[in-house]
């Protein structure tokens, strides 16, 4: 049970990292994630499962990394579309995201070969590798958790490093005060476009991993992920206060694990209070409202 919560927390924590980058770092309320997450799931599932069936041993060995990369890239492409629509047509961020998300529903169906769902039960190289990654030392469940921890640590390290580079600092400043970035002689739109691509590539990777974990890719996987990601980011902010980017990144994972634990609790014991799985979305919405309320109240009385 606990390892299940942690695995889910980490996988969806990567999604929430993307939400953190768009909503917090770039101050760009991006709904594209509802399209980039399932795009990553579809692309990752297709690439990984078809490569693992390849007779070529080399291609077969690449199935897992290629699947993850495909998810990452598919999400990034969705982000690129949103950035292009936003900058070229000067539509508001929310509309740009909705346009991309709507279009990607059909694109995701095409990636999945015209079907809304692709089961991975018989052919799931990513999950297989993750579960056998530490065989002999750990049980499959804990081996899966270990591989998720490893991936998240690498991602965390890379992102923390990135936000300490010149480009990362400029990206942080962009969401804070665009004028300061312009004064530094930086083309702000290009920088923002890279940021939006990153903010969707991470959910794409998360989608590829989530599909493997659940054993299927589905076009409807994206429903409600922006709200879940936001709730995650806000929970993290509620628990840990910090101005340091490293801590801010780490607390996204903390928020994600808490969020998944709450959802698990609601699913398992919610019946006591009459809560059914149908109520989980309502719970997510309430969580966001409560988080905002608490942080507002706290700021006023600090």
């Amino acid at each position: 049970m606990i390892e299940g919560i942690l695995v889910e927390g980490l996988i969806y924590g990567i999604l929430a990292l993307g939400v953190f980058v768009s909503f917090r770092v770039l101050d760009f309320p991006d709904l594209t994630v509802e399209g980039s997450f399932p795009a990553g799931a579809a692309a990752g599932a297709i690439v990984a499962s078809s490569l693992s069936l390849s007779p070529n041993a080399f291609a077969k060995a690449l199935a897992v990394p290629a699947g993850m990369l495909a998810g990452f890239v598919a999400g990034g492409v969705a982000g690129f579309v949103t950035a292009a629509v936003y900058h070229r047509l000067k539509v508001p961020p929310l509309l740009a995201g909705i346009v991309t998300m709507t279009g990607f529903y059909s694109i995701n169906l095409r990636i999945l070969g015209g079907k809304p769902n692709l089961p991975l039960i018989t052919n799931n190289p990513m999950l297989k590798l993750a579960r056998s990654f530490m065989s002999g030392i750990l049980s499959p469940e804990w081996s899966l958790l270990a591989s998720c921890i490893l991936i998240c640590l690498v991602l965390f390290g890379l992102l923390d490093l990135f936000f300490h580079t010149e480009i990362g600092i400029a990206m942080g400043a962009l969401g804070d005060n665009e004028n300061a970035v312009i004064q530094a002689g930086i083309q702000p739109n290009r920088l923002r476009a890279w940021g939006i691509m990153l903010a969707n590539a991470l959910p794409g990777l998360s989608g590829a991993m989530a599909a493997a974990y659940q054993g299927f890719a589905d076009v409807n996987l994206g429903q409600g992920v922006v709200a879940a990601g936001l709730a995650t980011v806000m929970l993290g902010e509620l628990v840990v206060h910090s101005q340091f980017i490293g801590v801010q990144l780490a607390r996204v994972f903390i928020g994600s694990i808490i969020f998944r634990a709450l959802m698990y609790a609601a699913r398992s014991w919610g019946y006591v209070a009459g809560i059914t799985p149908n109520d989980l979305r309502l719970l997510t919405a309430l969580l966001i409202i409560v988080s905002v309320a608490i942080s507002r109240y706290g700021r006023k009385h600090r």
């Binding site: 300490h164 010149e166 480009i167 400043a173 005060n177 004064q183 930086i186 702000p188």
Partner: protein, 263 residues
């Protein structure tokens, strides 16, 4: 060096109407020269700086900075030549980032690289620079800028504006939002930096006394035009009362009050 050649700026008021803010304006500022720009509200002083920086487009005319024609360049590309401080102390810095991060942003103009922005050596160099402000900020480099007072933040913005040694420094009433003590400090820092780095500067101000003190040349604007341009002996002889007289005379309106120019 700044060269403005017959520039014109107008804003669309809607319904086919437009308001011309700068009319056929020409101005030449030599390298290393400091020019004060004074004039009543709505004279077009800020618009003049906005036109040079590329914040507002010009309808006609040409703008040269350092002998390059920058007229077609967007604001971010012109920033290569321009350092700028506005009236609002919040305008030039990212408040939710540290002093060090802000300085790293301003240290070099142009595209960024995948390189650690604030290595220890850079932090030491910046501590020395910030110490020159004399505000004790060198010990607060890892604090967020939003924690600074208005005067401290404006002094930091000034430092950031000159850090990359821009060809042109544009100051738009950058001490007007500060209390008198801080305005004095930032004004003094401005004088020092301009002299030390021999900067070419255009300073918009309402304070005529300061306008005369800080610059070797004073330009008076009214309704989008330059109505007086004083330098050399002519400027040295001038005092505040003289400026007011000049303003009334050139403007030629009986109802002109001192307040129109002073405030």
């Amino acid at each position: 060096m700044i060269r403005l050649h017959n520039i014109e700026v107008s804003f669309d008021l809607g319904g086919g109407q437009e308001h011309t803010v700068l009319k056929n304006l020409s101005l030449e500022v030599e390298r290393g020269q400091t020019v004060s720009v004074i004039g009543s509200n709505g004279a077009g002083k800020s618009t003049l700086l906005n036109a040079i920086a590329g914040t507002v487009p010009v309808r006609a005319g040409k703008i040269f900075l350092d002998d390059s024609d920058v007229t077609p360049l967007p604001e971010w590309a012109r920033a290569m030549y321009v350092g700028r401080v506005r009236q609002d102390p919040l305008a030039g810095t990212a408040g939710d980032m540290t002093l060090l991060d802000n300085l790293a942003l301003a240290y070099r103009k142009g595209p960024r690289r995948f390189r650690i922005a604030t290595p220890p050596k850079f932090a030491r160099e910046m501590a020395d620079k910030v110490a020159e402000l004399g505000m004790g900020l060198e010990d607060r480099l890892r604090e967020n800028v939003s924690r600074l007072s208005g005067g401290q933040r404006q002094a930091l913005t000034l430092l950031m504006a000159i850090l990359s040694r821009p060809s042109v420094l544009l100051l738009d009433e950058h001490t007007a939002a500060l209390d008198p003590a801080n305005a004095e400090i930032v004004g003094e820092l401005t004088r020092r930096f301009i002299a030390e780095f021999n900067l070419t500067a255009l300073i918009v101000t309402h304070d005529m006394k300061r306008a005369l003190e800080q610059a070797g040349r004073v330009v008076m604007m009214h309704e989008g035009e330059i109505i007086a341009d004083l330098s050399g002996a002519e400027k040295e002889k001038m005092d505040v009362a003289g400026l007011v007289r000049l303003f009334k005379k050139v403007r030629g309106a009986e109802y002109a009050e001192d307040r129109d120019l002073l405030i």
